[in-house]
C-alpha cells in the first residue's frame, strides 16, 4: 500500500474531554465518525495510510480514571495505563511473568511511553503482544458505553483479523483476571524481524505446578491465526500429568499443529509451525523452573 508518512492528510476535529462520561457522550453523538485515540501508535499510522479517516478524534490519554491498578482476588488494570507502567507494575510478579516479558519484547522506549494496554487490545490485531499472556490468565475486559457496561472474556474480544466485538460507542476501561494460583509462573517468547518489532509469531505459557505434576499449562499464541488464540488440545496433553521430556515434545508438536496462520504477513506458515514448537519448549522450561515445587 502506498503510504504517506509525513502528514495526516484528512481533516478532523480534536477533542480532549476531562471525563469518561464526556468521551462516551461524544462517541454516542458521532458514531462511526468518531475514533478514540490513546497513545496513537496504531491509529496515527492508520490515519496516515488513509485506512481510518475519523472526523472526530477523541483523546483519552489524559484521563486519570483509566490509569489504575487493583490488587487482590481479582487483579484489575486500567485500560489507559501505558506499556511502561504495566511493565513496571508486574516487574516482580512471578505468576504474571508472561505479561512482563511480552511488554519487554516491545522494547522501543518511545513506544513503551506512548502505547497503552487498552489500545493494544482494542486495535484488534492478532499480533498484539499483550493478548497471549492475558489469554493464559483467562482475562476479561470491561467495555463501557453510555447505556451499558459489559464484562467479556478476552478470548471473545477478537473475532477476525483486526476485528473485535467492540461497538463504536464503547470504550475499554479495564482488563482484569483472577489472581493466579500459587506455584504459577509464565513466559513469553517472540520472533520478530529485528530486535524489537511487530511479531512474526509469539507464544505465551503460564504453568501451575504441583511438585512434579503439571497442574495446568495454559498456552496462547500471537500472529498464529487471524485472532490471538489458546491451544486447548496441546494444553490437555500436559494438564494433570507428571512432567516428562516426552510429554514436552508431544505438547510442542501439537502446538505447531494447532496454529492456523494466514499465508501472508511477515513470515511463512512453515516457519511459524516449526518455530512455535521450539519457542513453546523454551518458554515452558523457564516457566516450569520458576513455578517451583519441590524439585
Amino acid at each position: 500500500m502506498k503510504m504517506n508518512t509525513r502528514i495526516i492528510s484528512h481533516e478532523f476535529d480534536y477533542h480532549a474531554p476531562d471525563t469518561i462520561r464526556e468521551v462516551l457522550e461524544m462517541l454516542d453523538q458521532h458514531g462511526s465518525d468518531a475514533k478514540i485515540i490513546a497513545g496513537g501508535t496504531d491509529l496515527i499510522t492508520q490515519m496516515k495510510m488513509g485506512k481510518r479517516t475519523p472526523s472526530h478524534v477523541v483523546d483519552i490519554r489524559k484521563l486519570k480514571d483509566l490509569r489504575y491498578y487493583v490488587e487482590g482476588a481479582v487483579i484489575k488494570i486500567g485500560a489507559g495505563n501505558n506499556f511502561r507502567s504495566v511493565m513496571e507494575h508486574f516487574a516482580n510478579n512471578v505468576p504474571c511473568r508472561g505479561l512482563y516479558e511480552a511488554i519487554y519484547s516491545i522494547g522501543k522506549t518511545q513506544v513503551l511511553n506512548m502505547g497503552t494496554i487498552g489500545g493494544n487490545l482494542s486495535n484488534g490485531s492478532p499480533k498484539a503482544d499483550t493478548a497471549p499472556p492475558l489469554l493464559t490468565y483467562n482475562a476479561r475486559v470491561k467495555l463501557l458505553s453510555l447505556k451499558s457496561e459489559r464484562l467479556i472474556d478476552l478470548k471473545d474480544l477478537h473475532v477476525g483479523y483486526n476485528k473485535t466485538v467492540m461497538e463504536e460507542n464503547e470504550i475499554m476501561t479495564e482488563i482484569q483476571f483472577d489472581a493466579l494460583p500459587k506455584n504459577t509462573a509464565g513466559a513469553f517468547e517472540k520472533k520478530a524481524r529485528v530486535g524489537s518489532d511487530i511479531s512474526k509469531i509469539t507464544c505465551a505459557v503460564t504453568v501451575t505446578r504441583d511438585n512434579d505434576v503439571c497442574r495446568n499449562c495454559n498456552i496462547a499464541l500471537g500472529a498464529a491465526a487471524p485472532v490471538p488464540m489458546r491451544a486447548p488440545v496441546a494444553e490437555s496433553i500436559m494438564k494433570g500429568r507428571p512432567f516428562s521430556d516426552q510429554l514436552l515434545e508431544d505438547t510442542a508438536l501439537q502446538v505447531g499443529r494447532e496454529i492456523n496462520p494466514p499465508a501472508y504477513g511477515r513470515t511463512s506458515v512453515e516457519y511459524r509451525r516449526e518455530m512455535v514448537a521450539v519457542m513453546f519448549k523454551d518458554g515452558f522450561k523457564r516457566a516450569w523452573e520458576q513455578a517451583g515445587g519441590d524439585k
Binding site: 508518512t5 495526516i8 481533516e11 485515540i37 499510522t45 522506549t109 518511545q110
Partner: protein, 161 residues
C-alpha cells in the same frame, strides 16, 4: 477544520501557536517553531529520529498530534545544553567518542540516552542497547553510540565520587 490555539513550553520558552488538529508534533516543532534539530525520517515510528521529550519522557514526534501536547513541556535537542552554550555531558561524550557520522540519528539518540541515564545511573551495555532499540543508526553500527553513553555514565560516576 479550524486552526486551534496551542500553548507549548519548548525548551523553557512559552509559545502560543495556531495550528490545525491534524498537524504532527515533529512538523510543528520543525516548521512552525523552526527548531530543525529534531529530524523527520520514517514517519512510522520505526527509527526514532523524531524523538522529543514530552514532560520529560521520550516520545515519537511523527506519531503525536501536536494538539495533544497542549500544556506540556517539550524538550528538543536544542534545549539540553546550558544557556551559556556549555554542552550537556552526553553531547560532550558523543563528540569525544566519535559517536556521530552523518548525525541524523544523533538528536534522538542523545535524548533517549539521557532518559536512560536519568532512570539508571549505572546501566550495563545490554541495558544501554535495549534502551536505544527504538532509534536506528545507519552509519555507526551503534558501537560508537554505546561507547558514548558508557563514557557519560562513567564520567558522571567519577564526578560524584
Amino acid at each position: 477544520m479550524k486552526k486551534q490555539t496551542l500553548n507549548l513550553n519548548i525548551n523553557g520558552e512559552d509559545f502560543e501557536l495556531r495550528i490545525f488538529p491534524n498537524e504532527l508534533l515533529v512538523n510543528v516543532v520543525r516548521e512552525t517553531v523552526g527548531l530543525t534539530g529534531t529530524k523527520y525520517a520514517c514517519g512510522t515510528g520505526q527509527c526514532g529520529a523524531c524523538t522529543v521529550l514530552v514532560d520529560d519522557e521520550p516520545v515519537l514526534g511523527c506519531m503525536t498530534l501536536a494538539v495533544s501536547a497542549a500544556g506540556s513541556k517539550i524538550t528538543t535537542i536544542e534545549g539540553i545544553a546550558e544557556p551559556d552554550g556549555k554542552l550537556d555531558p552526553l553531547q560532550d561524550a558523543f563528540l569525544k567518542t566519535n559517536a556521530i557520522q552523518c548525525g541524523f540519528c544523533t538528536p534522538g539518540m542523545i535524548l533517549v540516552g539521557k532518559d536512560l541515564l536519568k532512570k539508571n545511573t549505572n546501566p550495563t551495555e545490554n541495558e544501554i542497547r535495549h534502551h536505544i532499540k527504538g532509534n536506528l543508526c545507519r552509519c555507526t553500527g551503534y558501537n560508537g553510540i554505546v561507547r558514548a553513553i558508557k563514557k557519560c555514565r562513567d564520567d558522571m560516576a567519577e564526578r560524584n565520587l
